[in-house]
Each structure stands twice: as C-alpha cells, then as structure tokens.
C-alpha cells in the first residue's frame, strides 16, 4: 500500500509538472479547455461516487453477512450484473479499489458459504456463475493494481518490481520457471536444501526418460507442423484462386512456394488449356 500511496504522490507530481510545462508552451485557450474538462471529469466522478453505491443491501454487522439475502434463499435463479471490466477499474482511485476488493471478498465468502450449504442439503446452487464473475472481477482488480505498481517501480527504480523469476533445472533435468521467494535461512546454511541438490540428473534412467520426453515434445511439434501444412494444402487444392499472401501471413511456418510446386495442391478438375 505504501507503494500505492507513492503512486498517488507521483501522480500529483506529474500533474504539477504537466501544468507547469503546459503554462509555458500551450496557448491559453487550450489550457482553459483542458482545465474545464478536468473539472468536468472530477464532477462526474464525484456524482458517480454519490449515486452508485457498491453494496446493494444495507451492511449487517454480524454472521448473517455470510449468507445471501433471505429473499434469494428459495430462488432458483438470482439475477446479477456482470463482472468489473479492466477499463472500469483503471479509472478508480487506489482507495476505491481497496474498498472494492473487500466487497468482492465478502461476496465470494457469501457465495462459497451458500454453495457449501446447498451441496450439503442436496440442493441446486442458484446462479453459480456469480462465483465466476467475482473471480473475474478480482483478477481484473489485481491486474490494475499490478499495472500501477509496475508503472511506479519503473518510474522510480527502472525495474518492474515484480516477483523475480529464473529458469532452473529440477532433479529430473527439466527446466522450469522458478519464482523466487523469501527463506528463513540463507542458502549456504540450509543443509536440507543443499542435500536435496545432491541428487543429480546424470543417471541412466533419467537420461532415458529425458530422451523419451524430448521425443514426445518433438512429436507434438512435428504433428502440429504437418497439420498446418495439410491445412494449407487442402485450402490450395479447393480454392485455386486463393490469396497466397493471406495464407503466408496466416501460416508463417509453412513453405507455401514448395507446396505450390507440389502436385498435391492441384484440384480434381481438368485445367483450362488455351484460354
């Protein structure tokens, strides 16, 4: 959150900077227009805040918050809106996003409680898509917060500030993306971890496994390649006047020139001679 607050400060700085720059370079009429627009934006945002309340029901400060509205208990379908979109969340302030997160969290807890009880009582959970909508909203909110964090970090430090990752080999010799995390012990003191690294992947069995595994991966790649080549072949055969450039852009991995020379791309019709 400290970073989020910093973002606010940065935003303010940028705003003052912009205004100072614009004072120098922009004509006064344009400036006026911009300012009036800004005011309008602020006004609309405020009105939206006043009119649109997040929570449709009055907040209850007890355990009944874990349950849906009693009106919906016996319903077979509960009508709800859609999930929050990215562009809607991008224009919200950090504070609003923070509030919305907790609203979504409570909503998810409520839905999970209802779902659990419905499953226990062998009843159908009405409108289960509500859970997906909450999940999508939360994902989008997280994306927006992440974007802001990243922008702030890039502005201040030049790096994204994301969780550091690196490619490492696992005991079977397969490479995977390792996402670094905090540890209680430094690596040279962590005897258990050091011992776990003693298991190499130079053995016969592992080598055989890797060979077969790579063969499998290669086969998948090969089959995909063949499939796309056959697709192009059939397209060329059935549509003699097809736009080759479009095909080239759609299937960049297929050698279309070679296919055009091939007999297989010719259709089952008698070619017109002397026309």
């Amino acid at each position: 959150m400290s970073s989020a607050l910093k973002i606010l400060n940065v935003a303010k700085c940028v705003k003052t900077l912009c205004s100072s720059v614009s004072n120098k370079f922009l004509s006064s009429s344009l400036l006026n227009r911009m300012q009036s627009q800004q005011q309008q934006n602020v006004l609309t945002a405020l009105s939206a805040l006043n009119t649109r309340t997040f929570h449709s029901t009055s907040p209850r400060q007890d355990l009944m918050e874990f349950f849906d509205d009693p009106k919906n208990w016996s319903e077979n379908e509960v009508k709800v809106g859609r999930a929050w979109k990215l562009e809607e969340l991008r224009i919200k302030s950090n504070k609003e996003l923070h509030q919305l997160w907790y609203i979504l969290l409570k909503e998810r807890n409520m839905l999970l409680t209802m779902e659990h009880e419905c499953n226990d009582k062998m009843e159908l959970f009405p409108s289960p898509e509500r859970l997906d909508k909450v999940k999508i909203s939360m994902g989008n909110l997280e994306t927006v917060v992440r974007e802001r964090n990243k922008a702030y970090h890039l502005l201040e430090t030049g790096i994204t500030g994301e969780r550091p990752t690196r490619m490492v080999h696992n005991p079977l010799g397969l490479r995977h993306l390792y996402r670094s995390c905090e540890h209680v012990l430094p690596p040279h003191m962590n005897v258990k971890w050091i011992k776990s690294r003693d298991i190499g992947f130079g053995g016969r069995a592992v080598r055989k496994f890797l060979l077969l595994y790579r063969e499998k991966l290669y086969n998948i790649k090969r089959k995909a390649k063949n499939r796309s080549r056959n697709e192009v072949m059939m397209l060329l055969r059935r549509n003699p006047n097809i736009d080759v450039q479009v095909l080239r852009s759609k299937y960049p991995n297929v050698d279309i020139d070679k296919l055009l020379r091939d007999d297989k791309t010719r259709g089952h019709f008698v070619p017109k001679v002397g026309v």
Binding site: M1, A4, Q61, D62, L63, M64, E65, F66, F67, W73, S74, H98, W101, Y102, L105, K106, R108, N109, L112, T113, M114, H116, E117, C118, D120, K121, E123, M138, L141, E142, V145, R146, N149, R163, R179, C181, E182, H183, V184
Partner: protein, 150 residues
C-alpha cells in the same frame, strides 16, 4: 497473497500488512452441537489462528474471543471399475468463539423451498390432467385443434 506471495514471519513491529488478502472463509453448519456463541468455519488452508481472528475482526467487525483450528483429512475413495484411489482435499476447520452475549444458530435456508416444490408439482399435475382431458375428448376426432370446441 493475491499478486504477491505469502511473506515469512518476521519478529518485531511493525508487522507486515496485507492489503489485498486472498483468503476465503466459509461459514458451515456444525457437525456436532456447539454453544450458541461458537461458529464453525471452513477456511483457507494457509490461514493461521491469528489470521482468522484478524480477518473476522477487521473485515467483518466481529468480536472474536477465541479461535481453535483443526485440519480435516479429505476422504479417500476407491474407483469401482478401475480400482485406483482418489482423495479429496484436506480442509481447515476453525471454531470461532464470539462474545458470550452473541447468539448464532445456523439458519434453515430451504424451509420455503419445500412449499415451492409442492406448489410446482401441483401445477405440473394440473397441466398433466388438463392435457389428459383434452386427449380423452379428442379420442374420436383425432387432429382437431384445441380451439375447435369448448
């Protein structure tokens, strides 16, 4: 947590604040009879007792006195045809003691549903009866539309 990873515990203050917690809590029907001020929750596996206490106090503004947790092992099941064993996920169950003055009994969510079901069945039976009557009437004149006679 949400975009970040769960930080390891560090002694001393200030403790690390979590701003977008991703924990979930389900209020579940207690298997055994409990005192009236005890609520049973199924919670995220990585939640500690302190997490549960803070979660309820800060987000739901509930007066929590005590939290006890246990981990319930998921049931194993053997597949009938192929014989392999599957296991459901373990769940963490939390017993949260509220203030003595608080009273909570798990509500019956489907009391109205029974009546609704009966009403629906009745209407379905009625329509079935009506259709049967219509068929009986048209036995000797097949293909006659419904509006032909009263």
């Amino acid at each position: 947590m949400s975009t970040r990873w769960y930080p390891i515990y560090q002694r001393g203050n200030p403790q690390l604040r979590i701003f977008l917690p991703n924990f979930w809590m389900k209020l579940i029907r207690p298997a055994e009879e409990q005192p009236k001020n005890v609520a049973t929750f199924s919670v995220s596996m990585q939640m500690t007792k302190y997490d549960i206490k803070n979660y309820l106090e800060k987000i739901y503004k509930l007066p929590v006195v005590d939290v006890r947790t246990r981990i319930e092992m998921g049931k194993t099941k053997r597949d009938q045809t192929f014989g392999y064993v599957t296991k459901e996920d373990d769940v963490k169950i939390a017993y949260v003691t509220l203030l003595k003055t608080e009273e909570f009994t798990f509500p019956d969510l489907f009391s109205k549903k029974e009546e609704q079901k009966k009403a629906e069945e009745k209407s379905l039976d009625d329509s079935k009866q009506g259709f049967k009557r219509f068929l009986d009437r048209n036995k000797k004149r097949p293909g006659t539309p419904g509006w032909y006679s009263i």
